[in-house]
């Protein structure tokens, strides 16, 4: 029994070993190496030397690329907000109104993401083109001024990011909504939970205005116009579609999914450079574009490593705060 018992206790570690070693050697260690490399000086030809004096790489990189860092955070937040606005009603419909077509609807939502990421983005370039299939006819008909454009503006980059990372938001929200026991909502209605008209109107107006103005600022559109649009949308949604049972039962129970989805969307959005490259211009470059060109075009490994390390440290801090408050179960089960 003794030897057998010891073997049984070792079994999980034997099962883990190959995969975990792979992750330690090719995920954990490269992170450490990246930190070391950020203290390098020298070139690929002469070789690199490590010196702590090179901490100035960090201050130089931060001051030089501060606009790109700020832009990444703003675009990431805007794209995450848009993903939430699109995803919540979608996930809600599939979870509560899908009926026997639930799986079909879920599949239809996911299917587009079986196409190549780059080709999807390339398609948006065709769709959003100045005289493309969307705006061309509208301009010809006189609905839009000829100088109107979306491609090569912040709006195109944020729209591309929001589209490409949408499932990261939709699926966690869907999973958390799907878990809700419908009898809770029925019970709330039995206990006279009705529409939430006055409260919904006020809350909708306030939230709509804030979201509209925020997106306006992020996409460098007219903040006042965007705030008014947000106000209008918020009024309609808040007064007509928010019930007390939704506010008190469904929304609180779905919040873990919303938080998980926001984190899982925001992280790749901040680090993205593909959308900014294909859909943007030189004024929309994000930190990912800088890291990529520093690494692959300039072979400026120390600066690139420092920038990546800052990005990674920021995100690890976010994940740590999240895990501390809410645990990782929701993230990994929905991810």
């Amino acid at each position: 029994m003794g030897a057998r018992g010891r073997l049984m206790r070792l079994t999980p570690y034997l099962l883990l070993a190959p995969g975990m070693l792979w992750l330690i050697i090719f995920y954990v260690y490269p992170g450490i190496q990246m930190f070391i490399s950020s203290f390098w000086s020298g070139t690929l030809e002469t070789g690199f030397t490590v010196s702590l004096d090179n901490w100035t790489t960090y201050t130089d990189a931060l001051t030089r690329y501060e606009p790109q860092f700020a832009r990444s955070l703003v675009y990431g937040a805007a794209a995450t907000t848009i993903c939430f606005l699109i995803s919540y009603p979608l996930a809600y419909t599939i979870a509560f109104r899908g009926g026997r077509y639930k799986n079909v609807m879920l599949f239809l939502v996911i299917a587009p993401f079986f196409t190549s990421f780059l080709l999807r983005t390339q398609s948006w370039k065709i769709i959003l083109g100045d005289d493309g299939i969307l705006f061309g006819p509208l301009k010809d008909a006189g609905f839009l001024p000829p100088e109107f454009r979306v491609l090569a503006t912040p709006a195109a980059v944020v729209a591309g990011i929001a589209y490409n990372f949408l499932p990261f938001m939709t699926l966690p929200i869907y999973v958390s909504l799907e878990k809700i026991d419908g009898r809770l909502v029925e019970a709330a209605k039995d206990l006279y939970a009705g529409p939430w008209r006055p409260g919904g109107t006020i809350a909708g107006a306030i939230i709509g205005t804030i979201v509209g103005a925020g997106l306006g600022a992020a996409l460098s559109y007219d903040i006042l116009v965007m705030a008014i649009v947000g106000l209008g949308a918020g009024l309609v949604v808040g007064s007509l579609f928010v019930s007390e049972s939704f506010l008190r039962i469904v929304l609180p129970l779905s919040l873990p999914g919303v938080f998980a989805g926001s984190l899982l969307t925001f992280i790749p959005a901040v680090g993205d450079f593909v959308n900014a490259e294909i859909l943007g211009n030189t004024q929309t470059r994000m930190i990912g574009n800088v890291i990529q060109s520093r690494f692959l075009e300039n072979n400026d490994y120390p600066t690139a490593a420092a920038l990546s390390f800052i990005l990674m440290a920021g995100i690890l801090a976010m994940v740590a705060v999240y895990a501390k408050i809410l645990g990782t179960e929701e993230l990994t089960s929905a991810g």
Binding site: L16, L23, P30, P89, L106, A111, P167, A233
Partner: protein, 308 residues
């Protein structure tokens, strides 16, 4: 509950209540239809432009219908090679990552051991790290090693990277399937004289196989589509996504749309067929089957949940 601005129509105050009730019942379906159209739009454009007949290289404006690209899908120099490389990377990395990830999932679900929380965190972190950081940190490692087979970066370094980022997704997918696994079945097999090895292959493996297949499909599609990490670890080797990126500046050839559309149709067809076969296999609920086989979340949800 909620709604989108695009469906607010001019409402006269006298009918607000009735209109509200009507909208409340139907607006979500209308909204969902619009949302699905929006999600499908780029795919439709990609497929449409695979039939385009542009005079030059640039395939961004519609010129006319032709089947040329479909009849000669590899009519562009280099395209066949990069598709071959991509398929090779995807096959090998899928097999290795699925094997390693399934073992981890088995350990995590079936055993209580010290360090399981750390293991969970280490599985989760690669999925929560931006791809650019994964690629960049691997490149610094390869540069620091500075000699073959790691530097200059090549096919092997692409494989290393793809296996690394696929492991976590495999673990998460297989683990979802292993929860609720009825261990009495294994005990029964052992009681009937099977040893651990036979029990695993005759009882455990067939039960987890659909989960393992879903994980492999997910790993394959992640691998074949990856551009960001591959761009850091490829060196002079080219894959299909790297080819697309490289040609994006001068104009993506029509043939790329053909191959993209074909990949899309194959992936969708594969998911539809496996889901159909599985639902048919599960339909007559035989009492001998454990409830765990039927999964609340369908395969496509897991398969694409972490895509992009």
């Amino acid at each position: 509950m909620s709604d989108n601005a695009r469906v607010d129509s001019p409402i006269r105050p006298s009918v607000v209540l009735r209109a509200g009730r009507y909208l409340h019942h139907n607006v979500l379906y209308v909204y969902t239809a619009f949302a699905i159209l929006y999600l499908m739009l780029p795919v439709a454009v990609m497929a449409l432009f695979s039939f385009n007949d542009p005079p030059g290289k640039s395939n961004v404006a519609w010129h006319g219908f032709t089947l040329d690209a479909w009849l000669h899908p590899f009519g562009v120099p280099g395209l066949f090679d990069v598709v071959q490389t991509s398929l090779g990377v995807a096959f090998i990395s899928t097999i290795v990552a699925t094997a390693l990830g399934t073992l981890i999932a088995l350990a995590l679900v079936r055993y209580n051991f010290r360090g399981s929380a750390t293991t969970n965190m280490l599985i989760f972190l690669p999925m929560a790290t931006p791809e650019i950081v994964l690629g960049a940190s691997l490149l610094t490692l390869f540069v620091a090693i500075g000699e073959p087979p790691f530097f200059p970066t090549n096919f092997i370094t692409i494989l290393i990277a793809h296996i690394m980022f696929n492991i976590s997704y495999v673990v998460v997918t297989v683990r979802a399937r292993l929860y609720g696994f009825d261990r009495h079945l294994e005990e029964a097999a052992m009681d009937l004289g099977a040893n651990e090895w036979i029990t695993f292959w005759k009882v455990t493996f067939p039960i987890i196989l659909p989960g393992v297949m879903a994980a492999a499909l997910l790993a394959f599609s992640l691998s074949i589509d990856d551009y960001v990490i591959t761009s850091f670890t490829a060196g002079r080797t080219s894959t299909f996504p790297i080819f697309i990126w490289g040609s994006a500046r001068v104009g993506v050839p029509v043939q790329v749309n053909v191959i993209g559309t074909a990949f899309f149709l194959i992936a969708v067809g594969f998911v539809v067929i496996t889901t159909y076969l599985q639902s048919r296999a599960n339909r007559p609920p035989r009492p001998s089957e454990p409830a765990a086989i039927k999964q609340p979340v369908p395969e496509p949800a897991l398969a694409a949940g972490s895509e992009a």
